[in-house]
């Protein structure tokens, strides 16, 4: 067996110019696909952690049936009650794949500073969950620009300051408060939240402007307000929640968890529905952007794959055709058709594997150089700028390598198979 590999390797070295040309096509095509994949992966992860952790939607969002669409119109009707919350919390507590969860209350109102008021859209979750979401390793890994300025020892999270709120920089400008909010005087930090309770009465609560955050999206950057769940419960005079955000250990647990929860809801006759984070009603931006990116990537992948595959097939075909006499000799001295075809296929395998290895190293070098260059850009619809980062994942590279390898293998095998079936006398006079 070693003899065949030795023969294959020596033939590659002997025809080094052609081998180099074929290898270059494979290396360039493979590295290009890896880098494109690395960029898409980076964007996908960025948008994913944005949807799950920054926007506090969690991997799963539990709503009252139709509550996602109609809650703000009829909050009382579509509110998840405290009894329902209790069952949900108990169920989630027993599921090992659930990292944490929190009830979430959503509402609209006016943020006032005594002189003027501006509208806000508020989201309130439990401070402990807020802390876990803010400090989640996935968020720090993929979207560190979106991690707010507060640190883990901040009183907001320890509930020492239950009326602390966080607003976006643009909302701060509208209300006459410039960042950093920590530097404002106590009087400047005092704000009021006003809104209609779910019974329809006007209500207001005091709040302390403590922190700044970013939603990650330009569209919501001048209205977003975050507050502790308890503060919004006081404002809207309710014990219920708009939704429950469930944070899982992995996106691969989404399907299983959904099935488990649906069964519990059915058993308890709860009229609830579950949405994964990648539902367009939960994260329209994620779904829309990724749909566009996948379509574009599919087109580019098709082009690069086709170019690389044609180059491999062309180079292998010429290389094999030129060696008709060698094939004829091998056949004449008793090699079976398949034996000869596999000699050439081995050459293709060796060349492709070597090229893929070099392509992988090249991918890592280019990615490291790009990442070290700190190239920044502002994607459409995203608040602020972000670094152009390429994160070619090893598994993704393997998944790209497999079809390239198979194309190379198939082209070698079929071209040589076609040739070995020619009459030996014709091959010998090649």
């Amino acid at each position: 067996m070693m003899f065949y590999w030795k023969l294959a390797w020596r033939n590659l070295v002997r025809n080094r110019r052609r081998s180099l040309a074929t290898a270059s096509a494979i290396i360039a095509g493979y590295a290009g696909l890896n880098l494109l994949g690395g960029y898409i992966l980076r964007v996908e992860r960025h948008l994913r952690v944005n949807a799950i952790y920054v926007n506090r939607a969690g991997h799963l969002s539990i709503y009252k049936k139709d509550g996602l669409d109609r809650f703000l119109l009829k909050p009382k009707k579509y509110l998840i009650t405290s009894d329902e919350l209790k069952i949900i919390n108990e169920t989630l507590h027993d599921l090992p794949q659930v990292e944490f969860s929190t009830p979430s209350l959503m509402g609209v109102g006016l943020l006032g500073n005594g002189d003027k008021s501006v509208p806000f859209i508020a989201t309130g979750i439990e401070p402990q969950a807020e802390q876990k979401a803010e400090n989640h390793p996935e968020l720090k890994k993929w979207a560190k620009e979106l991690v707010s300025t507060r640190d883990k020892d901040d009183p907001y999270f320890t509930q020492v300051n239950p009326d602390a709120i966080s607003i976006t920089k643009d909302l701060g400008v509208l209300i006459g408060r410039n960042t950093p909010f920590q530097n404002l005087s106590a009087a400047q930090k005092d704000l009021q939240l006003a809104g209609l309770t779910y019974d329809g009465d006007l209500n207001a609560v005091n709040a302390t402007l403590q922190f700044q955050h970013s939603t990650g999206f330009a569209l919501t950057e001048d209205t977003s307000l975050r507050a502790p769940y308890s503060l919004l419960k006081s404002l809207y005079q309710t014990e219920g929640a708009t939704s429950v955000a469930v944070f899982l250990d992995s996106t691969s647990s989404i399907k299983k968890t959904t099935q488990q929860l649906e069964q519990v809801f059915k058993d308890h006759h709860l009229n609830l529905e579950i949405y994964p984070f990648n539902n367009d009603k939960i994260s329209l931006f994620y779904v829309g952007t990724m749909g566009f990116l996948y379509m574009m990537a599919g087109f580019f992948i098709f082009l690069i794959f086709t170019a690389a595959a044609l180059s491999i097939v062309n180079s292998m075909t010429i290389g094999i055709l030129e060696r008709g006499r060698e094939i004829g000799t091998l056949r004449a001295i008793g090699f079976q058709e398949n034996d000869v075809a596999w000699i050439f296929t081995r050459e293709g395998m060796l060349l492709t594997l070597t090229s893929l290895g070099i392509g992988l190293v090249l991918t890592q070098i280019v990615a490291a150089l790009v990442n070290a260059s700190n190239i920044r850009f502002r994607p459409p619809g995203i608040a602020g700028d972000m670094q152009f980062i390429l994160t070619p994942d090893v598994w993704m590279c393997v998944m790209i390598a497999i079809p390239l390898f198979l194309i190379s293998l198939a082209s070698c095998y079929f071209v040589s198979q076609r040739l070995v079936k020619k009459p030996i006398v014709d091959l010998l006079v090649n």
Partner: protein, 225 residues
């Protein structure tokens, strides 16, 4: 002595564009075991075609070709490969050595696919063949570092290594100078006598006729003497 090869009413035609060329016209021919036969004829007389049919690397249009009393025209492609590997050795005009293999590896090549020959026996056979052709010192040389005569000796060793019943040589001296050509023919004759291997070679070099046991003349696709 029994026949190792016999051809009965063999017809072989080639299609050259619109024209059909009859290379062999109902040819009958036999070779006895241990014979050293030269097939003589001008270019286009049909000697290479006859050699290809005997060597199992071409098919006749009509007639039968027997190798050790077995009709080889009826064999599958796989069986024909097996027959070539076990029973027939080839020596080509252009040597047809594998350029990336050393002398030793080129000679070893036909035995690589043989499951019935152990690695140790393979080595012994290759060394013996190297000795027979006097190339022991060149065993690790690549073919392109050898002279034409040396390359042809490697090809002879490769043909011998499987211990075939028949060795076919198509114009083995055509690419060599006359002194080397005589040396090669002498070597083949010596091996024929030493190993009792049957040799059939074709040539249009009349000077070699006197050095072989049997001369068969072919003209326009038929044996004339």
């Amino acid at each position: 002595m029994s026949n190792i090869v016999s051809l009965k009413n063999v017809v072989k035609t080639y299609q050259l564009g619109e024209t059909t060329v009859e290379a062999l016209r109902g040819l009958n021919f036999e070779i006895k075991k241990g014979e050293f036969t030269a097939l003589i004829g001008q270019s286009g007389s049909g000697k290479s075609t006859l050699l290809n049919l005997v060597g199992c690397i071409d098919h006749p249009n009509k007639g039968e070709v027997y190798f050790e009393n077995q009709n080889i025209t009826e064999l599958s492609e796989s069986k024909r490969s097996e027959l070539r590997n076990h029973k027939i050795g080839f020596i080509f005009q252009s040597f047809n050595l594998i350029p990336v293999l050393t002398v030793y590896e080129n000679i070893e090549l036909p035995l690589i696919i043989r499951a019935d020959v152990s690695a140790k026996e393979r080595e012994q056979r290759v060394l013996s063949a190297l000795q027979d052709v006097g190339l022991e010192k060149f065993r690790d040389y690549p073919p392109d570092k050898l002279s034409g005569g040396q390359r042809q000796r490697v090809a002879i060793a490769r043909a011998l290594v499987t211990h075939p019943s028949l060795i076919l040589a198509d114009e083995p001296t055509a690419n060599l100078d006359s002194a080397t050509a005589h040396m090669i023919i002498d070597l083949l004759t010596e091996l024929n006598q030493k190993r009792k291997t049957t040799f059939l070679f074709c040539s249009h070099d009349e000077k070699l006729i006197g050095r072989v046991g049997r001369v068969v003349r072919i003209q326009d696709g038929v044996i004339v003497s």
